[in-house]
Each structure stands twice: as structure tokens, then as C-alpha cells.
Symmetry: C2
Subunit: 331 residues, 2 copies
Amino acid sequence: MEKNRKIVLASRPVAWVEESNFRLEESDIPQPGVNQVLVRNHWLSLDPYMRGRMSDAKSYAAPVAIGDAMIGGTAGEVVKSNHPDFVPGDKVVGALGWQLFGVADGGALQKVDVSLIHLSAWLGPVGMPGVTAWVGLFDICAPKPGDTVVVTAASGAVGSVVGQLAKIHGARAIGIAGGADKCRYVTEELGFDACIDYKAGNLRGDLKAVAPAGIDCLFENVGGEIFDTLLTQMKPFSRIALCGLISQYNSAPWPMQNISAVLINRIKLQGFIVSDDLSRWPQALKELAGHVATGRIKFRESVADGLAAAPAALISLFKGGNFGKQLVKLV
Amino acid sequence: MEKNRKIVLASRPVAWVEESNFRLEESDIPQPGVNQVLVRNHWLSLDPYMRGRMSDAKSYAAPVAIGDAMIGGTAGEVVKSNHPDFVPGDKVVGALGWQLFGVADGGALQKVDVSLIHLSAWLGPVGMPGVTAWVGLFDICAPKPGDTVVVTAASGAVGSVVGQLAKIHGARAIGIAGGADKCRYVTEELGFDACIDYKAGNLRGDLKAVAPAGIDCLFENVGGEIFDTLLTQMKPFSRIALCGLISQYNSAPWPMQNISAVLINRIKLQGFIVSDDLSRWPQALKELAGHVATGRIKFRESVADGLAAAPAALISLFKGGNFGKQLVKLV
């Protein structure tokens, strides 16, 4: 008889996440109760926010308990359904975690159409990362056509959508990424106006060369020294959507020197979490689905093969080892 | 024949402002041209923003040129008028700088009513500092009744108005000030709910004791270590009006450790300069004048005697030596 396999949190990381923080376990396949659905997960999404859930430091969401399956977004196929909206074979997106099978209430699953958009994309540009890009760009940064939008981690799941949405909106898009390959992809494939490889070591000068008048909108995913440098290049009355600080999730915070720029240039700096306002999701997903289905928004995936590969893939994500949306293929 | 006296910028400060950065000069009393007004200044306002104008570092306003009179807000009496709206004896507020007499276009002067509000108050709670408090509190912090509002430099010209406006609005007001005397004034005279003497050395613990649930609105005038500590006490979805960073105008910036709080708690942090949006001034001044005339907003002044005392008084301001609004009495 087939069994479920899942990866649980074995211990909390001290600094960098390590493989020993996880443990692979086998269990029976769960059975759906009233109004519940059993799903076979095909894809697991790996995302930076997972570092926060592995820690028990105070945060906006409760941590994963030691011994529990790691949380995570998943896309898969309905196997059994006790809910009137789902039948076996339906493709669904949910948050069933790091496991091959999962049970959820029907209301916690989203049925998706894979005729024009591949199932895995519902975890990327047409999923949480895409909506994150949409909300931060339009609700916080609010660029006008012609504005200069800068986004860090520009080849990643969120950053790649930010720049492409900015271009569709008529703004200039400048990416910051780690390495020449990622930068080439950002400009040549995604159509950004420019991309700066921060690893080349001249971020401020390179940015001044392509944006001499400064930044109107910064979509910040990285934090640390890169963010501190970008603060010096903000225009008066500019906006910063603070979406992530991946550079310091696994280490001590970078001591920020340039916060005075927020005062001098009357910057609006706003942190946000995409799940705070679910009312924005339907409009965002509708627009993103249209862009992805017609090829106006392109995306790239890094795929780890099999559940057992998930821990190493997450660790690599924190070191910039992914190139595009990081996924784990489960079947 | 009577002469004008003025204080000019002699040199730019390197770190702390020094008396040698200023020079007292005598000159002829200027004569008003077409549509201009000659004013005898009675009061000069000293304010933290003046440090920025003494420097030629890039900022939101042009620096004072070496050899030019220091800029500054003034209140005085019309001596001669070539403008139809003014006659000798009118009391006016303007920005005539560090001098006994000044000439301005009539359009750059505001005639004020001193029947219920003393002339000097038009440079304080019913002037730029009061409007700064009003704009930062209502337009950026936007507290709801019952919210906890924290303001730094709470006994100062801006901070004292912030807390009193917060109370009038139905919020809780907590001040941060330097020294037991200032704190006693803030609670006993101004009616704040609490005040913490940061010099006692236990800011975080003392704040937790009076605001265990955290801060909804922070009106930040000080910056540096105090701001960095307060960041750790912000509630989810809280707001910060960044008005000043007086702790680091004369020294290297404090390395901020806690910017991640902006993300974790989805804080809106916004820098502002009160002169950016003049459209807000009439409503603010009308409300502030009503509160001051009826005694709902109280204020305190530190008065330096005579123009020659202005440099030492400004230097003292940067060290927290003032208690309430810092003025120079010119006549």
C-alpha cells in the first residue's frame, strides 16, 4: 500500500539553515473528512519566508512546531473529494506543506485552469510571488509611467514579475541581481531596461550610470548592504516597498547607515506581507494570468527533483543558488 | 543713525556647530522696494533644521552661503510698508533670518493677531513647529482614538504639540525626553499619559511598562539609538512620522540594527518636511490657534537674550539644553 512521505522540522537553525534541521518521515496517507479533499502534490514551492517559520523568534506568523511537517505552498491533483466543488483529477493550489499527499478543507484550495498556464506557474508568477510583486508595485510603490523602478533579486520569483509589470505599466525597470548570467537573463529575456550585477562590486556607481536622476520606486527583497546603498540613490518623494530582507535571514542584521535619506528625501518606506489583504488577490491573479497566458510575463524555474531534495534546495535559495522560481517536483 | 545687526555664516561646521562658525556684522538698515515691507524683528526662532542649512551636503534645501545672514523664522513689527496689506505697527511673521531688521515682499509675510496669542507663540505652537506636529500626527501617523502615540523630544517645540494634539484626539500620549525635569513637565503640565527619561538608561524596559501592547504611532524627532530601540516596540501595521534626527545632525549616523521590524510588523515609515505641502497650513494654523488661545495646548519657551546670544543658544539646542521652544529675544 502506498505511503505518504513528508519532511518535518527536526530542529531550529541557529544561523544558516542546515540539512540536519530537517527529517524525512513516512506515514499513512491521510483520509479526507467532511468537506475535505485529499490532494496528491505535484509541486512544492520553496520561498524565503520559510526561514522565519523555522525560527521561534517573534514574527508575524506562528513558527512550525518541532516534529511538524514544514509549511509550504503546493500544487497538485485531487485524489478523493468530500467537497462538492472538487472531483478527482481537478488541479488545485493550496498550502499542504512538504509532503506527497495532503488533506485540506475545500475552502482552503483553489481550483486552477492548466489549459493555458502550466500547473507549476500557479506557484510562481500566477501565485503568491506574482501577487506579492503586484501588491508591492501597485499598492505601495505606485509608479507613474516614466518612473524609474529598481528591484533587487531581479531574476527571482518576485523580482522578475515586478520589473515586467513595471514595463507593462510604462515605467523604466532596473534590476539588481547576483552574477552576469542572471543579469543577462533579466535584460535579454525579461526585457528590463538595465540590470546591475552587485557582485561586480560597484553597485552605487553602476546604478548612477543607468539612473543618474535616482530611483522613484524601490522594490526591496534583499536588505543589508545593498539596501543601504540604494537608499542613497532615492529621489525626493520616492517610495520603497519592503518585501524581504533575504540577506539577513540567516545572519546578524547589517547596520544601516543611510536611514537619514528617508527624512531628507521624504521617502515612504512600507513593509508588507502579501497575505495581509486577501481582497487584492482576485484582481492581481486575473491580471497576472492574462499576462502569463499571453507571454507578456515570462518566468524561469529552478526545479529540485523529489521531496528529499527540498532541504538542500531551500539552503541554496538563501545563498542565491536558485535562478528564477525555486520549486520541488514531487511526482 | 540706527544700524542693522546680523549674524552671518562664517564657516561650515565639521561636526558640532561652534561659535566660530558665526560672525556678527553691522550694516545699514535695508529699505523696502516696491510691494516690500521693512520689519523690526522681535523674536528669532532657532530650530534643528538649521544644522542642515549650515552644511553644503546634498539636502532638500540649498545651504546658506558663507558670508550670508543665517536663515530663520522671525516675528516682529512693521516699520515701513510699500505693500497695501501692511501698515507700520502691524505684527508679522516671516523668515527674515538672524538680524534685527529685514525686508520682505508683502506676500512672504503673515499678519498675526496678538490679542489672544502672544507674538512669540506664532513661532512655536501656532507656527512652523506646531504645523509640523499637526501634519506628521494627522497626515502620516493618523492615530485612532485609543491608539498609543509615542513622541521623542517630547518637551520640545514640536513634540509638546504632538502629544497634546494626540490627547485632544482621544489617543494615549507617551513622551520620551532627556531628564526627570522635562519628563515631569510633559506629564504634569502638558498632560501626557506617561513620559520616559531616556537618560535613565532603560528605555526599552520603561516603555514596555507603560505600553506593553506596543506603539501604534511614533512621531520621531531624535533618531539614532533611541529610534532603533523604539522600532522594536512597534505594533503590526503601525506608522512612523520621521520628522527629525537631531541626535545625528552633528555626528556620524547611528548604525540601525532593527530595520527588519519595518517588514515584520508592516510598518509605514515616512519622512516629511512641513514646507512641502503649504495647502495644509491654513487648517492646521486655525486649529492650533484655537487650542492655544483657549489654553488646551500649553507651551514653554527657552529665551536667549539678544542677537549675539543666538549662536550659543543654537549649539545648546543640539545638546538638548533648551526646555521647550528655543527663541532669541531681539528687542
